[in-house]
């Protein structure tokens, strides 16, 4: 299989999962951008398929980092009241209680929950994506879940 064909297959196979995860993290409006950025980053590596043992896991981690970066930048912009990045929710799913509760979470909590409960990522993988020790992931998830429960109560 040619490299181009492998990219196409990887894209087709992993995009739905990545897109939905990104949407949960940053919203529909920016989800596609996050997925695109993730693939662009992957494709800059000349020997991606030789160097990366688990391409889907790699994409998942990078996607989470991209989303995290966006959420952090968004916070900065909101602070200075340049609100171009805050996009109105137009999708029905974004009005669901859980989606609203997720949006209220700090960026790191939100990304961690999506990685764990939508993408079934391991603690090691979540720790890698967030830049924290795997041992800290459990407590982080626990606190994040509590915040969601509180918001939903």
């Amino acid at each position: 299989m040619s490299v181009e064909a492998r990219w196409a297959t990887l894209y087709e196979d992993s995009r739905p999962l990545l897109y939905r995860a990104a949407a949960l993290m940053v919203g529909t409006a920016e989800a596609e951008e996050v997925v695109q950025e993730t693939f662009e980053r992957a494709m800059r590596s000349r020997n991606f398929f030789d160097e990366v043992r688990e391409p889907v896991a790699w994409l998942r981690t990078v996607c989470a980092r991209q989303a995290l970066g966006r959420l952090r930048r968004r916070r900065v912009w909101e602070r200075i009241r340049v609100r171009l990045t805050v996009v109105e929710s137009t999708e029905p799913w974004e009005q669901a209680e859980l989606a609203i509760a997720l949006r209220k979470l700090p960026a790191r909590d939100r990304v961690a929950l999506v990685l764990r409960y939508y993408q079934d990522a391991s603690y090691e993988e979540i720790g890698d994506a967030l830049g924290i020790a795997p041992v800290s992931v459990g407590p982080l998830l626990s606190r994040a879940r509590a915040k969601v429960r509180e918001a939903l109560a």
Partner: protein, 538 residues
């Protein structure tokens, strides 16, 4: 191993995720802005997230409502012919290049000439627009949150006007045909609860250095254009989604799609309105009918040539794309080595703003791209080509030769016998030729003669456009007054066009020539007096 609470959360999260629909056909690079497209491929560190986010939001809001009010028309039959473009020489134009670092260079034969000018002071050059006489260039600079518009003298690159604050996007500025004003999109109020900031449309009067708002704050306003159809903007929000054209006093709906470009006959290429400035399905409009060209996916209009529509499509995840030509059927040609992010039509060429390290220009005659590396310029630059007759000349540097001699100098490139204004003072007349309109005899672009009459301080008094008979305005314009007497000359037509569009105009056919006289300051009688004074070049 997940515990009970984990499993419950797991189920809820996956149920929520399953409600997220995945947009189809999104195998493309980021397209929120032209620069965004380039940066995506170039892997540059700067990302215009704000504009991209809005662009993406708009993309997602795209829906069938764009097509409301337009009679369904069939998409042309698709015949894909993939072949690499042939090697043809790059056109011999002097170029002006703007870079991501905000510098503007003069370029000749692939070499930088002189020192660059720091126009944008750290911001990127997002777009450059040549005025119709090619004497001035509108430069749009932009960072992540702020942008500015400045006008440079083409010959010296010295700043003539500006800066004026604009939204940092490539679609926010357009020259008036008379070069006296520029339409701009400027950020308006940012209400704390609103999802996006509002935008208003400004008219920047260069002579008075003043601006005035001609359309109040409104979100999601894109694509300011000033074509033969008039000054237009596109909106992405219902119920006005589509293109509006300003008649000098009010905005009138033109199409449910976003106008990108139009030729002198009014034939236009439009893009589905919901994408803002991000490309999309392309439509062709002619005679009030709109025809969908793009079967699916994202394309970007580049130009119109007779009955051909030329558009661009990015190849996902590569720094290349395909040029797509629609003429009844669809033909694709691969273009390696860069994206054609926007195009300036000059003579028989479309000169691209490019993401690559080589300049790209598409030959309308050869139906192929020419490439030329520009030594010393990195990837991504905005490019404009200068008309050959205007190279190196400034209004003050125009040699004091007679008007007749200057028109005669342009005559060999014209396919009609030009006319000379009778009583124009040589030092208050500028003569240039340029492409525009359609030559009915050849079917290709017409070469037009442009004569500007100015007052003592250089302000435009009247603009005379000459071309081959049948090139330009027709006699069927609904508001035109036919059978206007022009002294002893053939009968003409008069249209009381708003000043913002160049002012009242008188036009007629004189032998094999079309002649039009317009003015932003003169009335009908004065226009007719100029018209009556015109005589065929001996």
């Amino acid at each position: 191993m997940k515990n009970v609470e984990d499993r419950e959360f797991d189920r809820e999260m996956k149920a929520l995720a399953s409600q997220i629909s995945i947009p189809a056909g999104s195998l493309h690079g980021r397209s929120g802005t032209t620069l965004g497209r380039a940066l995506t491929i170039a892997g540059a560190a700067v990302v215009l997230v704000a504009a991209i986010a809005v662009g993406a939001a708009i993309n997602n809001a795209r829906s069938a409502k764009d097509n409301a009010g337009v009679a369904p028309t069939p998409t042309p039959a698709v015949t894909v012919t993939a072949s690499p473009s042939g090697a043809i020489p790059f056109p011999d134009y002097a170029l002006i290049a703007g870079t991501i670092n905000g510098l503007v260079y003069k370029v000749e034969a692939g070499q930088i000439r002189g020192s660059p000018v720091d126009v944008c002071h750290g911001q990127a050059v997002l777009a450059m627009h040549l005025s119709s006489s090619a004497r001035s260039i509108l430069v749009i600079c932009g960072g992540t949150t702020e942008g500015q518009a400045v006008v440079l003298d083409t010959a010296t690159l010295a700043q003539r006007w500006g800066p004026v604050a604009v939204i940092p996007r490539m679609d926010v500025g357009a020259w008036a045909p008379d070069e006296r004003s520029i339409a701009l999109l400027q950020q308006g109020v940012c209400e704390p609860q609103a999802p996006v900031c509002s935008v208003h449309v400004l008219l920047w009067d260069l002579a008075s250095r003043s601006t005035r708002v001609i359309r109040p704050d409104e979100p999601l306003t894109f694509n300011v254009r000033w074509t033969v159809l008039g000054l237009s903007i596109s909106l992405t929000q219902s119920p006005q989604s589509g293109t509006l054209i300003w008649d000098g006093q009010s905005w009138n709906r033109y199409s449910p799609h976003a106008l990108w470009l139009a030729d002198a006959s009014g034939r236009a290429l439009l893009v589905e309105a919901g994408t803002g400035n991000s490309g999309g399905r392309v439509w062709e409009r002619s005679g009030g009918q709109e025809l969908a060209l793009t079967p699916s996916g994202t394309e970007y209009p580049l130009g119109i040539d007779g009955d051909r529509a030329i558009v661009w499509r990015d190849t996902p995840f590569t720094n290349s794309g395909v040029v797509v030509v629609y003429r009844g059927q669809r033909e694709e040609r691969e273009v390696p080595g860069g994206l054609c992010l926007a195009a300036q039509q000059i003579d028989r060429w479309l000169v691209c703003t490019t993401s690559g390290s080589a300049a790209l220009a598409y030959s309308l005659d050869a139906n192929a791209f020419a490439q030329q590396p520009i030594t010393g310029l990195a990837r991504f630059y905005v490019l404009v080509a200068l008309p050959k007759s205007g190279q190196g000349s400034t209004p003050t540097a125009t040699p004091p030769v007679s008007v007749e001699a200057r028109i005669r100098a342009e005559a060999p490139s014209l396919s009609f016998r030009p006319l000379v204004p009778g009583d124009a003072s040589a030092d208050r007349v500028a003569v240039t030729s340029r492409s525009g309109g359609r030559d009915p005899r050849t079917g290709g672009d017409a070469r037009l003669l442009q004569i500007e009459l100015t007052d003592q301080v250089g302000a435009l008094l009247a603009l005379i456009i000459e071309g081959p008979a049948g090139c330009c305005l027709d006699y069927a314009r609904p508001d035109a007054i036919p059978n206007v007497s022009i002294g002893a000359r053939p009968i003409g037509h008069y249209d009381n066009v708003a000043v913002a569009f160049g002012g009242p105009i008188v036009w007629w056919v004189d032998g094999d020539a079309y002649v039009a006289v317009s003015s932003p300051v003169l009335g009908q009688d004065e226009l007719l007096r100029i018209a009556a004074s015109m005589r065929a070049l001996p």
